[in-house]
Symmetry: C2
Subunit: 417 residues, 2 copies
Amino acid sequence: MMKEQIISMAKQARKAAHGMLALSTQSKNRVLHNMALALEEKRDFIQKENEKDLVAGREKGLAAAMLDRLTLSDKVMQSMMNGLREVAALPDPVGEISDMVKRPSGIMVGRMRIPLGVIGMIYESRPNVTVDAAALCLKAGNAIVLRGGSEAIHSNLALAKVLQQALAEENIDPAAIQVIPVTDREAVNIMLTLEEEIDLIIPRGGEGLIRFVAENSRIPVLKHYKGVCHAFVDASADPAMATAIVMNSKTQRPGVCNALETLIVHVDIAEKFLPLVGKDLAAAGVEVRGCSETKAILPEVTAAVEDDWGKEFLELILAVKVVENLDAAMDHIVKYGSQHTETIITESYTNSQRFLREVDSSSVMVNASTRFSDGGEYGLGAEIGISTTKLHAYGPMGLKELTTKKFIVYGDGQIRS
Amino acid sequence: MMKEQIISMAKQARKAAHGMLALSTQSKNRVLHNMALALEEKRDFIQKENEKDLVAGREKGLAAAMLDRLTLSDKVMQSMMNGLREVAALPDPVGEISDMVKRPSGIMVGRMRIPLGVIGMIYESRPNVTVDAAALCLKAGNAIVLRGGSEAIHSNLALAKVLQQALAEENIDPAAIQVIPVTDREAVNIMLTLEEEIDLIIPRGGEGLIRFVAENSRIPVLKHYKGVCHAFVDASADPAMATAIVMNSKTQRPGVCNALETLIVHVDIAEKFLPLVGKDLAAAGVEVRGCSETKAILPEVTAAVEDDWGKEFLELILAVKVVENLDAAMDHIVKYGSQHTETIITESYTNSQRFLREVDSSSVMVNASTRFSDGGEYGLGAEIGISTTKLHAYGPMGLKELTTKKFIVYGDGQIRS
């Protein structure tokens, strides 16, 4: 019964996606603006449904931070409305034609950007993801099937209902945005087998949820497990610049995936640089876990253990290692990195180019804070997630990553000889 | 034991791939030319090993066509050598930088094309795939783990040995090209779980093998099951052009995936067009299986049954359906198509644009034969396969589809505020 219901929803999403191939940019933008208006108009309804989730959450004894993430306050409502209008303002990626060339046979061949089809989104507590993800998928011409957490089910269903009404008013099939009303793991398992109906799965949440999705999906999954970002301070680095970048990368927002977790320092600059950065780190309350060479220079720091390398601390702890040269630094990143973001601080042209070319993380930087690794900072407009696997998308994902390209051919009667 | 061996090979491939990130274009091209020379020099050894497979094949009673595909004749050897030199002549996709923009923060952000890493290739009888696939993967900077069919095992191992010697002479890790010596399904199953070591699986062979791979893989798979190509002859089509395109699409090489399988005809042109094309089809020995409207105009043809729609005949059989309008034609393609290649023959500007936009197959054409759907004809240089799933690549896949893009950032000390 539940299985049939989920299959039926996915089939309806596939049908809706087919109808969306012919949607005009104007129509998509109009409905996004109308959705923002509808959230305003239906605010009472949405917040009343949200209150049901909050009551249930309190009864279940959810932590205060969890309840906070669950709350659709006026501020969160406003941020969803702003998000809808920002997505409306983004350029429409669909229909763009590129690489058009004339071939010796006389045919013209190019590539046209098209929607992926149906996106399956699997996420945990924040109900605002429902609106943010639906908006991006709609703008890219995709239908979306959302499966949120059980704590947010009333909020998610209420938001979907409001969005669906806006779709219907624009004569778009409301099945383009659907929330699965069943929230147990079995519902996820069923979704993950529907490879004929769903083109892509995007999981968002803790590492446990993401691993579960990746291990059970028959549908392609775009995901990242964690962000273990490295900074390498090269021998030629400007110590003041290096200090500023390390401090910003580590402390500006330590709980996020693009925060710095391991600092690697060239041996030739270690004696000069480590005391400088060590003072600022201590002042900012950062616990340093250093290798033996680091401890020789900064005796007061904690000794690093093997488990500290490649660890995503997500708090004010920094692993620090001294290395002989650039190659040793890159070997450390290969061994312990997560393909998220790495930065080199250097004045050496050759080393900057080698680092950019030979480190194959999804974001590789020279003389900049790892905190810039973000769809908004990169100019993607809005971010649907980050991929640290190389297929289809690598790094922050925006609207274009929710599309693909087909080949188009203009002929005037050509046949193959 | 077998499991450990395959895991060990994949781990060595991962290590080799890492070393290949710094390979110069000159080095890759030199080794491709040296591989061609080595095939020439080691021709006797290779053909002697190939003879072992042929003897075993004859003993097993393989069909003549199968033995033919297995044979490394002088002609096939020459074609492999030419292939290696052609791949050397292709532009190197790796290192290309695009979309470089300056952001308000002052950082410069762009995308650099990089190798995917390790490709797993699973294929059936033709041993020349070993060389063709290895050459393309090498040029794109990837390591490759090949798992061919049991019938070709001596040939595949001999070819890999020769290619590996050429790699070693160029100081490239020979683990960049490896043939798994175990040919049962269990070896495939083990490969398909190594998601940490292998980035992409490309299966080539019958639908059974491809479905087995897709259903069991934890690694992303690029594949197409079949090609059920459609041509729609619109009311405004030039009948002579439509006839030429239909005949070429159906009969020029009926056994391949871009051959025409279903002809859809607008009712307003059916009475004029069907007798014309019917005569040529009959003369070429093509069996027509028509809908009732088709039979009303061409009474001599076979009546189509439901099973004929969406069928990949791969021989001189053509299903023919008369429809009311463009929408009905596109509905038929959605219902029965395989997302491979569809063409419209029309003089209507509006209908040509609607067909190009609303049909979301991997190749969509106007006034051209479906037989042009091919990496070589599209100018991709050489083809590693075709994808009819939309993630990462859609349509014929060339060198670029064996790569991905990472973000690169040039800063001069920027930190995030």
